[in-house]
Symmetry: C2
Subunit: 324 residues, 2 copies
DNA sequence: GCATAACATGTTACCAGTAACATTTTCGAT
DNA sequence: ATCGAAAATGTTACTGGTAACATGTTATGC
């Protein structure tokens, strides 16, 4: 900035004013400043403001995984709000590991972020301590935590899972198995919904899970294990669409008819489900709306607003496709 | 930090020393500092160092898309190097748009990043200007640019595409169509490889493309358009596995036999290809190795090392599966 | 032509760490 | 006990932008 000021023949303060309130600078000076800045390729540092005012005009977003399609839509929703509001988004990911989440929180706080969006509601003691000390607005998204740190935006995964299992039961399926991969909180809540629906129908629950990450090929392997454990199975409810798509392809490769011989449902309604034949039954989750609302509420909180209801439920819908 | 110093009964400088070189602090003092830091949940700010030394111990990574599985492996490779080296990674994404890439570069530079990894080798004038002024190490990955900004790590997409098309030709396919989505640089280089292989075989090229993002269902639609344009087509080479998987599922839904009636190949060898029946032919790209090498070379450059060869070719392999 | 308001620009101090240098404390050797 | 070196700790200044205040410059009205 000093370089720009020297070339324009003014003080740093005038350059600073040009950037924050150009109408306070004489038009001729403004023109010359603009020229010099373009010529030098000058980029104002946001570091001094972080130091002096503890503000960065940046928010942090911690995602469990970078390879999960679900969060691409969430991120898009977030940025539709943050970009016009002048906030930069710093992303981090932690591989579904609470310790690494805490580490990422420390890293983001060291950049003096103004607010933080978390995709999990299960945190280490250390993470909670740091967030308390930092005293910045925090928003937990995806779930509906019973005791949120501050605000939360999400949906009821248990209710959604139960609704889908009930749809399968209403079509006459009885031996429905739940297929789960990497055990995070949402996987467990969906399992609760599955168990609740099965037990309400007077049926026994069967859960097959792996600690590996969700992949298409993992779906096929889980199906094979389920068939071994429950030979008469007539349906699988999968914790997500990757597993479900893999199970559907594997079932068809075995010569099974979907849904006549086996009914298959997933969660999140990703594009893959529409390319399959039959189209995959799945829970439509409002990912984009969650991202938008999370960012809106976080920025409102940064600006000092308060919300009467700290937890917002954005609901879900069922897409039944042709696979159940 | 002042709070910690006050509680310990020492000056800020001793706290600072404890963090950077604990062996210079008396053991008793060190113990008390550790206790107080844990009690307060103190996180050192990296902002003063950014200001004073223009170092942040953070590098930027700009990805075209957050929803592309390919970059999940790249990111993992990067972090395997950066985390042990004590660097934090700041991610940004720009939706395959060079203007937004420039904007993201400006944002990252405002955080005084020590180095930058780009996933594209096509940049705006403004971006190049800013990078020149910032004078930080820059590494372009994925491609093998003819005139890199500084270093580059990647593979020859044109050669890889030609190799796959030649494999299809060697199995007797003649009417092979190239299916492309969103036109980025790599899509075009793969198209060049396809055209090169076809013309070397004395065959005409046919390209079907859309500006929409690559999705499974888009693969089905592109196949339908290809069939309308080239009724006798006996193979499709797809710019990536999402398109290829969608095309394969759509072909099978039409009752076509793969590969007897139609041969299908993709690019990147994602997990979906292994779940399909037959398994999808695809180019195996060294994504993980690209991430690792990119981070290693960038950090080496940050530490002042130089490389004789600025561009590193990590090669590719073909996975033929059963679909060609 | 001059007072005065409105506008334009400049000066100083501050934020949280740390490099460089300064000072105090400890401890072993004589 | 005293000295000198090593160990431990403290002081000062600096980084880049900006808030708050100070000063300079131009325009307006009479």
């Amino acid at each position: 900035m000093q370089d720009v000021a020297d070339l324009v023949g003014t003080s740093k303060m005038t350059i600073s004013r040009y950037l924050r309130a150009p109408e306070l600078v004489a038009p001729g000076t403004a023109t010359r400043i603009a020229e010099v800045m373009a010529k030098l390729g000058y980029i104002p540092s946001r570091v001094p403001e972080m130091l002096a005012n503890d503000r960065s005009r940046a928010i942090g977003v911690l995602l469990p995984s970078m390879s999960n399609q679900v969060f691409a839509a969430v991120a898009q929703g977030i940025e539709e709000v943050t970009v016009p509001a002048g906030y930069h988004v710093l992303y981090g990911h932690y591989g579904y590991d609470a310790e690494r989440e805490a580490e990422q929180i420390a890293q983001l706080l060291s950049f003096h972020i103004d607010g933080l969006i978390l995709a999990e509601s299960n945190h280490t003691e250390r993470a909670l301590k740091m967030l308390g000390v930092a005293a910045i607005p925090v928003l937990e998204m995806m779930d509906l935590p019973a005791s949120p740190i501050d605000q939360a935006v999400g949906l009821d995964h248990q209710a959604a899972a139960a609704a889908m299992v009930n749809a399968m039961l209403s079509r006459g399926k009885r031996q429905i198995v739940y297929l789960a991969a990497r055990l995070d909180q949402r996987t467990r809540m969906r399992e609760n919904g599955y168990r609740q629906a099965m037990s309400a129908a007077g049926l026994a629950s069967h859960v097959i899970h792996t600690n590996a990450a969700s992949t298409f090929s993992q779906g096929g392997e889980l199906l094979a294990r389920a068939q071994a454990a429950v030979p008469q199975l007539d349906g699988v409810f999968c914790t997500n669409d990757d597993i479900a798509a893999g199970a559907l392809l594997a079932a068809q490769a075995q010569g099974l008819r979907v849904p006549e011989d086996i009914s298959i449902a997933g969660f999140n309604h990703l594009d893959i489900g529409l390319a399959l034949q039959p189209q995959l039954a799945s829970v439509i989750t409002p990912r984009h709306a969650i991202g938008r609302s999370a960012a809106q509420r976080l920025i409102a909180r940064i600006n000092g607003e308060t919300f009467a209801a700290p937890v917002q439920d954005l609901g879900f819908e069922l897409f039944l496709g042709g696979s159940i």
